[in-house]
């Protein structure tokens, strides 16, 4: 198949709607057709070719691959609904990257904006840097958050990560801000660093594992046990972990695992273990 490379022709100023940038939309198209695909430069419809140098070269793989070279932090909705193939962004990526993605892989060598993988259904997103708020979340007012696939963020992530998450796996290499897993009903969140307050707020189900310090555990979480090993995705993580059930204001089917040695301030809970 072919490898398509996009290079920004200039520094972008206003937001650019770029949901056409998916392997499906590029597949079986000539370079000319690809260059004519519609993007929005703010409120002006224009062509991909007018904003990007587009080049292509054959490659051995059997899938369409896209490379984006440069700062595309102003681009919105790259890879929206993509089903297959792969996309690599070498530079900072904008908001809503991989929205409602169903398959394939997106790799960002840089930071990603907010709503990364929102309403994601399948596939893989990997970000070498930080991500913004609402990773893997639902649209406003909807209960349909991330339903499948996996998101790997090697840096930090912002607020409300996994908001209304239903299924799938999110792994954060460093720290998360507050309210991770808010309203989640299922799926797994693994935080290798620290978590700010209110992790697991109003979660109905699912699992959150924190290997660093948990700033505080909400009053609506109750200690269940101390466990030595916890499974997250493919991995078996050595403990011991405090295991909390929550959010009890929402039924309490969710589980929060906090590594004991990093969380001495949670020791008081041990008194409540039957």
């Amino acid at each position: 198949m072919t490898k398509i490379t996009l290079k920004p022709k200039r520094q972008f100023s206003v937001p650019i709607e770029a949901s056409v940038i998916t392997p499906e939309n590029f597949a079986a198209k000539t370079m000319e057709q690809i260059k004519l695909l519609e993007v929005w430069d703010g409120n002006r419809p224009t062509t991909l070719g007018s904003l990007f140098d587009v080049s292509s070269e054959p490659d051995g793989g059997d899938e369409m691959t896209i490379f984006i070279e440069g700062d595309v932090s102003k681009l919105r909705r790259i890879g929206k609904g993509m089903r297959s193939g792969s996309m690599t962004i070498n530079g900072p990526a904008g908001m809503h990257l991989g929205e409602a993605m169903k398959g394939g892989t997106i790799t960002v060598n840089g930071d990603a904006g907010s709503w990364l993988g929102a309403r994601m259904r399948g596939g893989t997103i990997e970000v070498s840097g930080d991500a913004g708020d609402y990773v893997g979340s639902a649209y406003r007012g909807s209960r349909e958050g991330m339903k499948g696939g996996q998101i790997f963020i090697h840096g930090n992530a912002g607020n409300e990560l996994g908001c209304w998450m239903k299924k799938g796996f999110i792994r954060i290499g460093k720290n998360v801000s507050q309210l991770a897993g808010i309203h989640m009903t299922d799926g797994t969140i693994l935080v290798e660093g620290d978590s700010e307050a209110r992790i697991g707020a109003q979660m109905k189900g699912g699992r959150i594992v924190v290997l660093g310090k948990v700033a505080n555990v909400l009053p609506s979480f109750s200690i269940e046990e101390i466990r030595n090993v916890v499974r997250a995705g493919e991995e078996r993580l050595p403990g011991p972990f405090y295991v909390f059930a929550g959010d009890l204001t929402e039924g309490g089917e969710g589980r929060l695992y906090a590594l004991k040695e990093k969380n001495p301030h949670l020791q008081f809970c041990e008194a409540y273990i039957e």
Binding site: Y139, R140, G141, S142
Partner: protein, 566 residues
């Protein structure tokens, strides 16, 4: 400029004038149907097309505080259904709670030209009119809510029907309302304390009055004021298994007040109040019992409230009902109680084909439409958006006109519910004339809109033309052709202007807002004013002067003088 128009060789269905699929010309001048137009008139060639009066929707929640609260609560309802700005039209969103501009365009595209907002909290009716002003093309009216109004309950508790009539007349004038709407009489006041009313003869807390007395009293008031429409009633116990008995009692409680041959009460979205059974698991259709009663009497009209299988939004002044629905389904819930008057509740729902209750509800609506013999007393609605969005009307029409359409749908439904329903045994299929009656002619007549719903000389030139030949097509088998044609009118003509062509908006005009300019004799009016000056400030947190909506607040005011000229 020439405002004349001739619709040539159309196949006209105009039940009010006993015209059934006659090939004829319709002449239009000055926004009215006329006998003859001059040779210079613009010609529309309607050969082989169905020509009917513009659609008249008697019950559709399109504007006002609760509709807007639903829009605010449900961004997820709009996000996938939007309309882009064009050179002619404004942008907007759909699906179950379309924005104002989109509402007008979508009705016009289906050939509808008059739509009634059936529930406005009087205190917030300025808001309702602001939205009606922003709904393009179609004519409109709104029904203020009176069934839980403190003044009303107090007048009727004292037995002062004349006093109540004077008050209602003042309220209709002050809010620019059209008819008396009653929702869960007494039950909404009870809900303001967290309670409800479950029977026609329960007493309303603190008011010493019963739903029966409220309904009868307002029915008398309606007569005294000679209002163009009957009282428009959403009974107690809506959505409760077994409620069909209360619905029949409600219809029957005003029987003696009816004038010979004239309707005295309209029961709205009757599907929701035609439930038999003790609970949800034993739910059955009460449509047969309801229809038998309606067929037996002359004083009742009803509309369907037909269920559509889709995600939609329920919204009603029946606050306690919505709270129960929220508890049943666990979806998000909005409630607003309005001082001294009424309330509102909103809950999103999804009607599912495989769901026993939903399938039963779907069957009830159609059974009502097929079992009530007189099409002049049963009207097509989905109680938009409660049972489904109005954009589903073409599908409802196909179910009414084709048993095959019903059977094809039934195949995909909850078979347990289908087996228990007697819908499969009903062979009736609506003719084009009957379809035109329940969507236009009869609704206009029920509303007392004399110039609507027909194509006789002097009628408003609101005409819908569809790309289907009613002489050739067999709706029973080829219901898809009818459905397709109904979705996008070939032409919609509003007040003599072509506003839609081939299902697209070609001209945007401003519709009228009808209201009842009801009056009482001076002595009654003076008594009322002195009583209001005492009570109004005790009941409301705004001043009476600021409560009144001036006529020029309406974009196009169209007062109706009850009982004809004054």
């Amino acid at each position: 400029m020439n405002d004349e128009l001739i619709i040539r060789n159309g196949i006209v269905v105009d039940p009010a004038n006993d015209i059934d699929r006659e090939v004829m010309d319709i002449a239009i001048r000055g926004g009215k149907i006329v006998r003859k137009a001059s040779p210079s008139a613009k010609i529309i060639d309607a050969s082989g097309m169905l020509v009917m009066p513009g659609g008249v929707d008697i019950h559709s929640h399109i504007a006002g505080s609760k509709t807007n609260a639903a829009r605010v609560m449900r961004p997820e309802d709009h996000v996938r259904d939007f309309e882009r700005k064009t050179a002619l039209t404004r942008s907007g969103v759909g699906h179950s709670i379309p924005s104002t501009f989109t509402t007008g365009y979508r009705y016009a595209r289906m050939g509808y030209t008059t739509v009634i907002e059936p529930a406005t909290p009087p205190m917030k009716t300025r808001h309702t009119h602001e939205e009606l002003n922003d709904i393009p093309i179609i004519d409109k009216a709104c029904f203020p809510l009176f069934g839980n109004n403190w003044h009303v309950m107090e007048y009727l508790e004292k037995g002062d029907v004349d006093g109540c009539a004077a008050y209602i007349a003042w309220m209709l004038r002050s809010t620019k309302g059209y008819a008396i709407k009653i929702v869960n009489p007494g039950g909404v006041e009870a809900w303001h304390w967290g309670g409800n009313i479950r029977g026609l003869d329960w007493e309303v807390p603190n008011f010493g009055i019963t739903p029966r007395e409220i309904i009868r009293g307002l029915c008398k008031v309606n007569k005294i004021l000679k209002l163009p429409h009957t009282i428009h009633v959403h009974p107690n116990n809506l959505g409760k298994p077994g409620n069909y008995l209360n619905t029949i009692k409600t219809m029957d409680c005003v029987k003696d007040l009816a004038e010979e041959g004239r309707a005295a009460i309209h029961i709205t979205h009757c599907q929701f109040t035609s439930f038999k059974g003790e609970d949800w698991s034993t739910l059955r259709s009460g449509a047969e019992e309801i229809a038998n009663y309606v067929n037996k009497v002359k004083h009742v009209t009803i509309d369907m409230g037909q269920i559509i299988f889709t995600a939609t939004t329920t919204m009603t002044a029946d606050g306690p009902f919505e709270y129960i629905l929220h508890q049943l389904q666990g979806r998000k819930w909005h409630n607003t109680d309005v001082e001294a008057e009424t309330g509102a509740g909103i809950v999103p729902v999804v009607y599912k084909r495989k769901n026993f209750v939903n399938t039963t509800q779907w069957a009830i609506g159609l059974e009502l439409a097929l079992l009530v013999k007189d099409p002049w007393r049963i009207y097509m609605t989905t109680d938009h958006p409660n049972a489904g969005p109005f954009t589903a009307y073409p599908r409802v029409i196909s179910w009414l006109m084709s048993k095959k359409a019903r059977e094809n749908t039934m195949k995909r439904l909850n078979q347990g519910a289908v087996k228990k329903s007697n819908l499969p045994s009903l062979d009736r299929e609506y003719s084009f004339a009957e379809m035109a009656t329940v969507t236009r002619a009869a609704t206009a007549r029920a509303l007392g809109l004399k110039d609507k719903g027909h194509l006789g000389i002097g009628a408003d030139a609101d005409v819908s033309i569809y790309g289907v030949n009613p002489k050739e097509v067999d709706p029973s088998n080829d219901y898809r052709a009818v459905r397709k044609a109904m979705r996008r009118a070939a032409y919609t003509i509003k007040e003599g202007e072509i506003v839609v062509r081939d299902g697209e908006i070609v001209k945007v005009i401003e519709g009228k807002t009808f209201w009842a300019d009801a009056r009482v004799p001076d002595d009654m009016e003076m008594k009322l004013q002195s009583e209001l000056s005492e009570k109004f400030q005790d009941y409301y947190t705004i001043q009476a002067e600021n409560y009144v909506i001036a006529e020029d607040y309406l974009a196009r005011s169209a007062p109706i003088i009850p009982g004809g000229t004054r």
